[in-house]
Amino acid sequence: MKKLGLVFLVLILAGSFSETAAQKKGRAVVCFQSDMDCTNCEQTLYEYLKFEKGVKDLKVDHASNTIFIEYAEKKNDDKSIAQAIEKKGYKAQKITKKEYDELVEHSKEHGHEHGHEVHRER
């Protein structure tokens, strides 16, 4: 029975390593621009979308108003995912990964700048 504990431990560790290795096979990525505005909306959408079929990775960000979803191609498609977002009452305008990266980058700079600005005021 003690071995069972060991097996469990190995499983946990193995699980955590294999994940990084197995990525990107048969996966599709889709990005959207949305209109969330608030953290609550971000949370709601995150909790909702992560349980859409085949979703493997997900980033929802209200600051840049973007959604990034990686999913198993066989289980879902871009259109159904967009519908899921709309069902929760948010805009789902499809954008390219490049546009997504730019938006996120832009919003990060935005935050950064803001930090400096505060310093200047004091």
Binding site: L9, L11, G15, S16, T39, D57, H114, G115, R120
Partner: protein, 739 residues
């Protein structure tokens, strides 16, 4: 740098061309402004909002019709401001008196050590409570390094906790910051707090603040129930144990009037009707039991400084244990099998209220609770019946003494009324405690890095006279990585000799006691060092702590003097506990949290004229807890292993004093217990499957003299290890939030 500034300034118009309001949110921490991250900020009547970031700053888009900006954050008073233009705003949130204890909670970690609180405190939140089957408060500590949970005896199913190696009675148990589950509820009280009802637990070690009373010698454990104005609308939980345990928990919140008045309804039912005797000694490993509990609580908050909460709780419980052949309805007779029956009925009520003056510098809080508890029980031929009526009230005035809030004062009055009627064997006993008290506590917090808190209280006890309780706490943050804490304090406690030790009746030895109510006194000192480092971009937490408790008077359970009695007598000599603990928390791989802890217990007591190790206490405890969640937290895996050290078993005295030479029977060996659980999350519900004690380790012969329970050697109270073997369970949780 200048050029960078100019560049930034130049690019500013491009990012702020839409109307954006900026500002910073602070929390008032004892009069000092502390940036407050994570505050929800939104325009009233809309769902457009943001959260403040690390330095408390935020940015929010302002539409033409947006005027009222709302700030809300758990543990702080809700605040609204009127916005006319786009000038940066600065807002200071006042801590909510009712939640004064709660500080910013780290989102993903189940347990964390606060660096802000002057008292060494561990906080267990909802995430951690999901890690164990967690049927009730007693089982919530499985993954916790500081609290030990053990069986009191082999027949009643009562569980007790130990903090710093000392019995749970030396820790102040609170529900929502009010003392609770004491007196008659001492033995089974931990099973009266259903896990799914709880929102969080705080464990603080060492003598606590005087505001909470003169008790809390070893520490304080506070459980917070879910709040009626929380986001959760409905929660349901069912649990099936392979050993025949069934459980149902549910709670629902109703917003009666906007966010001003809300109510929560809580239900719990559990049942064990399958007889288990894995050890084959003819005794049930756990009693057949049934518990039903209902609670209703209300909360009123006008968001202008006034708040009130009230509620009540009804509980009924029945336990039937002993020999497997003992059936419900059988008379406790020597001609029948040995049986144990315990019936508890309990009614509780509470009311608390608070008001914060508009200048935000003065606050008044009132907390009170009431309980009525009735017990009818027999352990073989021993009958114990009792009832208890208890009332507690506490009024505290909090005031900042200066503008910066570096000096603040808490002062107030309290009152305890506790009335007992008991009957055991042929004795009828009653006693009544009436204790008015006054207290004051001064806090010096000149900066974020330093807090000094000292308090004193005087209580005027109708039985024990006047006594004074001094307490002191110090916290110093040496640098960003190292925080040191020290505390010293005196504590007192009323030992209700019979009600707290009635599980000892599951023995053929008759209880012998001198007084049925008795005051215990002790000093407690502690030193703790918390270190936080960033190692490969992840936080590494190291904690070391040492606590010492010295008893001047104590109730000693003496099983070693007499072969025919268990003697409950006042301490005559020394009694102390040294507890040294180390723990390390780290995330070596993404989403894998590891906790490794070790504690050394040195608990000694003068029993029968000799300073000896207190029996049935492990000399050390090691714990490893692993928690892994998959990406997006769809699966969660938990594994805990506890290494419990050996300890002493009370020597059974023989009539001719030729004590069997230190045989194995005087000592129990170290043992290991493992628990594991897998949880799968779905959108509205989750399912968990686990096993407790899956290596199936059990104490051998937990019931001495099991073959002759009415004979002189019968004793089911020498318990040091698990009685129940492997327990596989399956549970479901369903939750629905307010949108």
């Amino acid at each position: 740098m200048k050029i960078l500034g100019i560049v930034l300034l130049m690019s500013l118009p491009f990012v702020t061309f839409s109307q954006v309001l900026e500002g910073t949110v602070y929390g008032n921490e004892d009069g000092e402004k502390q940036p407050l991250p994570g505050v929800n900020i939104y325009w009233q009547g809309t769902n457009r909002g943001v959260a403040s970031v690390g330095d408390g700053s935020f940015k929010i888009k302002k539409g033409p019709r947006d005027h009222m900006l709302v700030f809300s954050f758990v543990g702080y008073e809700h605040q609204e401001i009127h916005v006319h233009d786009l000038d940066p705003v600065e807002v200071i949130l006042e801590p909510n008196i009712e939640l004064g204890e709660v500080k910013v909670v780290h989102k993903n970690r189940g347990t964390y050590l606060s660096a802000i609180d002057p008292i060494q405190t561990e906080r267990i939140n909802g995430a951690e409570l999901h890690k164990a089957a967690c049927c009730n408060l007693a089982e919530s500590f499985e993954t916790n390094p500081s609290v030990d949970v053990s069986y009191s005896d082999a027949v009643t199913g009562a569980k007790q906790i130990r903090l710093l190696g000392l019995e749970g009675t030396y820790s102040l148990l609170q529900i929502e910051n009010m003392p609770n589950l004491r007196g008659l509820a001492t033995n089974f009280g931990l099973t009266y707090v259903p896990g799914p009802w709880m929102e969080s637990i705080q464990i603080s070690k060492g003598a606590a603040s005087v505001l909470n009373g003169y008790e809390s010698i070893a520490g304080q454990i506070n459980a917070e129930y879910k709040k009626p104005d929380a986001d959760e609308k409905l929660f349901l939980n069912t649990f099936f144990g392979a050993s025949g345990r069934l459980e149902f928990n549910g709670n629902g919140n109703i917003r009666v009037y906007k966010d001003v008045l809300s109510t929560g309804i809580f239900v719990h039912a559990s049942d064990q009707s399958k007889k288990n005797d894995e050890s084959g000694n003819g005794f049930l490993d756990e009693p057949l039991s049934r518990q039903i509990q209902v609670m209703n609580r209300w909360k009123y908050n006008n968001h202008k400084g006034y708040m009130a909460q009230a509620g009540f709780n009804v509980l009924t419980e029945d336990r039937l244990g002993g020999q497997t052949a003992f059936e419900r309805g059988m008379e406790p007779l020597i001609t029948n099998p040995y049986g144990i029956n315990i019936e508890n009925d309990r009614l509780e009520g509470f009311f608390k209220t608070g008001y914060v003056w508009p200048n935000q510098r003065t606050a008044l809080a009132w907390m009170s609770n009431f309980s009525r508890h009735e017990t009818r029980s027999f352990y073989g031929l021993n009958h114990y019946d009792a009832d208890e009526t208890r009332f507690y009230a506490n009024a505290v005035l909090t005031r900042d003494l200066d503008k910066s809030g570096a000096h603040s004062l808490n002062a107030g009055v309290s009152f305890i009324y506790d009335s007992f009627n008991e009957s055991l064997y042929d004795n009828k006993m009653e006693h009544k405690e009436q204790v008015p008290g006054v207290f004051a506590e001064y806090t010096l917090k000149p900066s974020d890095h330093f807090t000094f808190m000292t308090g004193i209280r005087a209580d005027f006890h109708n039985l024990f006279g006047t006594f004074v309780t001094p307490r002191m706490h110090l916290r110093y943050m040496i640098n960003d990585h190292v925080t040191i804490r020290a505390n010293a304090g005196r504590g007192y406690r009323t030992a209700n000799v019979i009600s707290e030790n009635n599980y000892l009746l599951a023995s053929s030895r008759e209880l012998k006691w001198i007084e049925n109510v008795f005051q215990e006194k002790a000093w407690n000192y502690g030193l703790a060092l918390v270190q936080k480092y960033t190692l490969w971009e992840r936080e590494l937490q190291l904690n070391a702590e040492y606590f010492r408790t010295d008893f001047q008077t104590q109730l000693v359970v003496d099983r070693e003097t007499s072969a025919s009695n268990i003697i409950l007598a006042p301490l005559d000599g020394k009694s102390y506990s040294n507890s040294l603990q180390f723990d390390v928390r780290y995330e070596p791989v993404e989403r894998l949290d590891i906790l490794v802890a070790y504690r050394h217990n040195d608990v000694k007591q003068t029993i029968a004229g000799r300073l000896m190790e207190k029996p049935l206490i492990s000399r050390y405890k090691g714990l490893i807890n692993l928690n892994y969640t998959t990406n997006l937290k769809k699966w969660m895996f938990d594994y805990t292993v506890q290494f419990n050290g050996g300890g002493r078993i009370a020597r059974y005295p023989t009539e001719n004093l030729s004590i069997a030479s230190a045989s194995d029977d005087d000592e129990f060996s170290p043992y290991t217990v493992m628990n594991a659980q897998v949880t799968k999350y779905f959108r509205y519900w989750n399912i968990y499957l686990g096993a407790e004690n899956f290596t199936d380790f059990k104490q051998k012969n937990p019931v001495a003299g099991a073959d002759d329970p009415f004979g002189p050697r019968f004793d089911a109270t020498n318990v040091w290890g698990p009685i129940k073997g492997r327990r596989v369970y399956l549970g479901l949780r369903f939750s629905l939030n307010h949108q």
